[in-house]
Symmetry: C2
């Protein structure tokens, strides 16, 4: 499972002492080749953490030997010194692994605005390098957790090749990548261009359509590394589909473990004039705090869906809007539809379908309800 | 105070039986002249309630004899029948007052997607008409409350003329008018064009910059009526300033009484290249759920301010952003500034200043914190 499901990768997860709790906080993922191809997608937040600025440069070369990931600190809004800390992290890993620092990607997650304790992080890299194992994927996935209650891994099998991955993220989940951090590996024999195409196509309809709380992170990073160790060159479509499957699986796990959530809400917009309209409407519904509260209270409040749709620029006629909650069409033609008492809201998953009656396009956005637990977790945890 | 502070107006507020609680739920505001000038500003939500569609038409004539307002039902998403109900409401008030229905504005607030109980509302209009009084302003303000804990009125005195008003609104407060409902009256001798200019200028920097929970109502309505009863023609600037003062006072009262809130948060964006940039950044900060939770927890979490700013399209350099919380510059040049422990968060009002270092423009947006009480109130009350 995880990043060591595919051949040609080793990983480790250790406690370096970055987290005050003493929990695991440093992960290392190493591509042992023969290929060292890589692609990456990063947050679209214009306030980018130092490791994002660093790794964006590294990924331009399409070649990554290893990824160092830490929890316990985001190294965001830390100025030039924060960037130097990321650089030193890459140098240390390069030295430990006998490769060049320009091939080391770095990812960090945790509190914004605080420098990392480099006196603990740098020795931790040596310790992690010593524990690298082809079975280390689970430990790596555990070491990148912050408020996650479970670690997240996924795998998809091709014909003689494998795609596997890990992700972390439980809050500050929103578009422009919802992940916070994900590393996906494959032993398929594919180059950086194929990786880049597959990764961008996959994230566009998976991580990018998870919007738990509308808040976009400064650190979101998704990396896809290929070792070529299987020696198999898969068909592009098969490979892209496997990458999409792993991304979708991990994205859904993020929604399933979102901070304080009691519902996983699937917002499907159909009948849109364009896919962009469908995404805009879906995201706007997903971000409506009043609706998210109502769904938490198991109230199929379709009026709040309509008032959210009404704030978008999408093509629609208010008198032709239809809304179903858990497949009961409670709103038809912009007005009262089937009896709302028919809606069974007892289950964790809620399905909202918004039909714009304006075309043939559609999109799905996943979100969560808004709960008192979310408020408690985020008013107490300074992250 | 309220809508009867100015001469030339009578008002009433009664219990018509629209609310199941039996509380006051119907208000009538009548302009007794000699002028019947009026202006209105309405929600920019594209899903508009029937009374908004009706009143927009009425206001095009610039002449309003009376306003009928009800709580206990929004008459939104109620289809053609809902529009007929609004029409019947105006006809009934016109009959009771001996004027034309085309001069009667209607405003409703409450649950979306449910038709109004016309068998109670229509008799209530006759009852309210019988109770009209030049001292009825307070009762009218009370009758339009929904989840408001207090009724809201304001007054500004000119030289021989007065502007007074009432407002309701405690949830679904967001731009495109935050009010839900407000009626402002004046005895100044001004025409509909002057009213329109003064009202649009005032709402742009008051109601439009209140954003409690990012959710825009289908029913927001602000009306400004002039009786001319003072016989005084004020200077345009003086009149506009008085209208702005009343709007600002009412808008602040909405934030002060927002559902479940424990903090009133003033977000001031300075150093912006354009006013539009300042408003966009202010609104984005005001809508960041993670920040709103942190402020609820009295945590001066400036990292969440920066990550919100980073999602906007405003002109700024991430390395030149400065943020103060309660006047302590906790973030300087995009990185750690003064000691966050210096920030005193004990009081209800919180001031966030975001300096984009990109120009001379500024804007203020008011919002609230996100609390467990907000979640409870909005997961239980189907509105």
């Amino acid at each position: 499972m995880s990043v060591t499901a595919a051949q040609g990768f080793t990983a480790a997860g250790i406690a370096a002492g970055i987290k005050e709790s003493g929990g695991a906080d440093l992960a290392l993922v190493v591509n042992t080749g023969p290929r060292l191809a890589a692609a990456g997608v990063f947050t679209s937040n214009r306030v980018k953490a130092a490791p994002v600025l660093w790794s964006e440069q590294v990924l331009k070369g399409g070649r990554v030997s290893a990824v160092v990931l830490n929890s316990g600190g985001a190294n965001a809004c830390t100025g030039p010194q924060g960037f130097q800390d990321t650089h030193a992290t890459a140098e240390k890993a390069a030295e430990a692994l006998g490769v060049g620092a320009a091939e080391i990607a770095v990812a960090s997650t945790g509190l914004i605005g605080v420098r990392l304790p480099m006196d603990k992080l740098l020795p931790g890299i040596g310790k992690a390098a010593a524990e690298l194992s082809p079975h280390g994927g689970e430990k790596a996935a555990i070491a990148i957790k912050t408020t996650d209650t479970v670690h997240k891994t996924a795998v998809a099998q091709g014909d003689g090749w494998t795609v596997g991955g890990m992700a972390k993220g439980a809050g500050m989940l929103a578009p422009g990548l919802a992940t916070m951090l994900a590393v996906i590996t494959t032993d398929a024999d594919v180059d950086a261009t194929v990786l880049d195409q597959a990764l961008r196509a996959a994230t566009r309809t998976t991580f990018d359509r998870v919007d738990s709380d509308g808040c976009m992170s400064t650190n979101d990073t998704v990396l896809l590394l290929a070792s070529g160790a299987s020696g198999v060159v898969p068909a592009h479509d098969d490979f892209a589909e496997a990458v999409r499957t792993v991304c979708d699986d991990l994205a859904r796990q993020l929604i399933g473990d979102a901070e304080g959530a009691s519902k996983e809400i699937r917002v499907e917009v159909v009948g849109a004039a364009t896919e962009a309209d469908a995404v805009e409407v879906g995201r706007t519904i997903a971000r409506n705090n009043l609706l998210k509260c109502a769904l938490h209270g198991e109230d199929p409040n379709w009026g709040r869906v309509l008032s959210a749709i009404g704030t978008t620029a999408a093509a629609f006629d208010p008198d032709r809007l239809n809304v179903a909650i858990n497949d009961v069409w409670v709103c038809k033609n912009g007005s009262v539809g089937e009896d709302r008492d028919l809606v069974d809201m007892r289950y964790r998953e809620v399905r909202i379908t918004a039909d714009l009656s304006a075309g043939e396009e559609s999109a799905v956005i996943w979100t969560n309800d808004l709960t008192a637990d979310y408020v408690h977790e985020n008013s107490a945890y300074s992250s």
